[in-house]
């Protein structure tokens, strides 16, 4: 129960931070995922789900007030769902995290992909809910010319923060209920750990390509990307 309460509180904070209060990036999936992993006592799962979601959502840039997904509360759902599928034992060296640890040592190789599945689904659902909630906001906005306008604006804005948080917690609660009902039936995961890693690796390539296009494209930034690739390869070999 404590874990559920912590997860819902985190989803509330992510919902409020993402759209209504501060935008301090608690709602980023990497942050929410890792914090959710801390809440459920499975750091590796939280980091894996959070990291993958972060990659998938990098090109979903909130420009111009368009509709975009809500990955913060969804990351909470993902960690919960993955945890239902199995646990990831802690790494041998405290504080170190082999990036393949969740895939190789999880009780079931489906732990991470199932978490990602539920997270992506509820990220898209959360974005839809956010769009509808914003459209409904028009119904209770104070109008110019009324008395007590200043006070009404304060009430509307603080209510907006609370309702955004409530929406995040609501999406997370719904996702956790659905996961609790569905995950036990999604067994066994049919791919080996290495094949699972390969699959998730490939699915991250399209969002990274989209992001490069958004940043400025290959013509303007191709050499920077190539330089980074070389640096990453050398770092990976050296470390």
């Amino acid at each position: 129960m404590t874990e559920i309460a912590a997860l819902l509180a985190l989803a509330f904070a992510a919902g409020a931070d993402g759209t209504a209060f501060g935008q301090f990036m608690i709602a980023r999936p990497l942050v929410s995922g890792v914090l959710a992993g801390v809440a459920v006592g499975d750091l590796a799962l939280g980091a894996a789900v959070g990291a993958l979601l972060e990659v998938y959502h990098l090109p979903a840039i909130p420009v111009g007030g368009g509709r975009y997904p809500e990955p913060g509360p969804a990351a909470v759902v993902g960690v919960f769902a993955g945890g239902l599928a199995g646990a990831v034992p802690p790494p041998e060296t405290p504080g170190a995290l082999d990036p393949f640890h969740p895939f190789l040592l999880a009780e079931a190789p489906g732990v991470v992909p199932l978490g990602v599945l539920f997270a992506l689904t509820f990220s898209l659902l959360g974005g839809w809910a956010q769009e509808k909630a914003r459209a409904l906001t028009v119904l209770w906005l104070p109008q110019p010319g009324g008395t007590g306008l200043s006070r009404s604006l304060s009430v509307v804005h603080w209510s907006g923060v609370f309702l955004s948080g409530l929406r995040g917690a609501g999406i997370a609660a719904l996702g956790m209920i659905v996961a609790a009902g569905v995950v036990p039936y999604l067994d066994p995961w049919p791919l080996s750990p290495r094949a699972t890693w390969g699959l998730l690796l490939l699915t991250g390539c399209i969002p990274l390509g989209s992001l490069l296009a958004v940043l400025g494209g290959v013509r303007r930034l191709g050499w920077w990307t190539a330089g980074g690739l070389l640096t990453g390869l050398l770092l990976g070999i050296a470390l």
């Binding site: 942050v31 750091l43 959070g50 979903a60 995290l97 906005l141 200043s150 995961w189 990976g236």
Partner: protein
């Protein structure tokens, strides 16, 4: 000339954190602007004129949430200086587009993805998740906080002439640099993961698998470049669909022994 007391300026700046709390498709950030300026209007117009004067700020306005403090600082200064309301309205109309564009480029396309990718690279190199998150949040919010405070001060100090301060700050050049850092970090993350994948698949058949993965991955990366910003939605949906189909097939037909 009246000056806003420091405590009042701090209060208004704190209110800027809620600018998006009542975002709506009709006025967008318009009600947020009015909410933030309420203490300024009370100071400038007194209790009797507060609501009446505040009402004219309930109109369409949209800008990046962090850089909106530039506009708000400038408008606060113009209100305290009792500028003509029509002039204030024209200023808001003129400044909202550039602040939105610069902010999107600087933060959503520059600062955020660069730091996200840096955090992901640290994770891929073996730094623990909570440490990575702490570093990410600390570094990101130092920049975030600095931008809000600088923006407010630049707006309040310069009033209507804040465009010069924005130009002098070189925000567009900084945005350009950050996109280069972001591109570098895309490559860095890819390289780190690729070298780790090589280690994972090491073995007689592993090299072929890694080569195959690299080729397919490169092709998908190019597909993503082609899809540009429109690519994220189908990418998310198809990834979820693919994982879902695999999971269901496992449930129906069993997994590897």
């Amino acid at each position: 000339m009246n000056r806003l007391p420091v405590t009042l300026r701090a209060r208004v700046l704190a209110r800027c954190l809620l600018i998006q709390a009542a975002w709506n498709p009709r006025t967008m950030l318009g009600h947020g602007v009015a909410y933030i300026l309420a203490p300024v209007m009370r100071f400038a117009r007194g209790r009797e004129g507060e609501d009446l004067e505040l009402a004219r700020h309930i109109e369409h306005f949209n800008a990046h949430p962090y850089l909106s403090s530039v506009a708000l600082g400038a408008v606060a200064r113009m209100e305290v200086d009792a500028a003509d309301p029509e002039r204030i309205r024209r200023f808001k109309t003129a400044v909202r587009g550039p602040l939105g564009a610069i902010g999107d480029r600087l933060i959503w396309v520059g600062w955020l993805p660069s730091l996200s990718l840096g955090a992901l690279t640290l994770l891929a190199l073996g730094v623990s998740g909570p440490v990575v998150v702490l570093i990410f949040l600390a570094v990101y919010n130092v920049g975030h906080g600095f931008l809000r405070v600088w923006g407010w001060n630049a707006g309040y100090s310069n009033g209507e002439d804040v465009a010069r301060a924005i130009r002098d700050a070189g925000l567009q050049e900084k945005a350009q640099t950050l996109t280069q850092v972001g591109a570098l970090m895309i490559g860095c993350l890819a390289g780190t993961v690729l070298s780790s994948t090589w280690t994972l698949f090491r073995g007689t058949q592993g090299q072929g698998v890694v080569a195959g993965l690299t080729l397919v991955g490169a092709g998908l990366f190019l597909l993503g470049i082609r899809a540009r910003r429109r690519g994220w939605r189908p990418s998310l949906s198809l990834t979820a669909l693919l994982i879902g189909l695999i999971a269901v097939s496992g449930a129906l037909f069993g997994g590897p022994s």
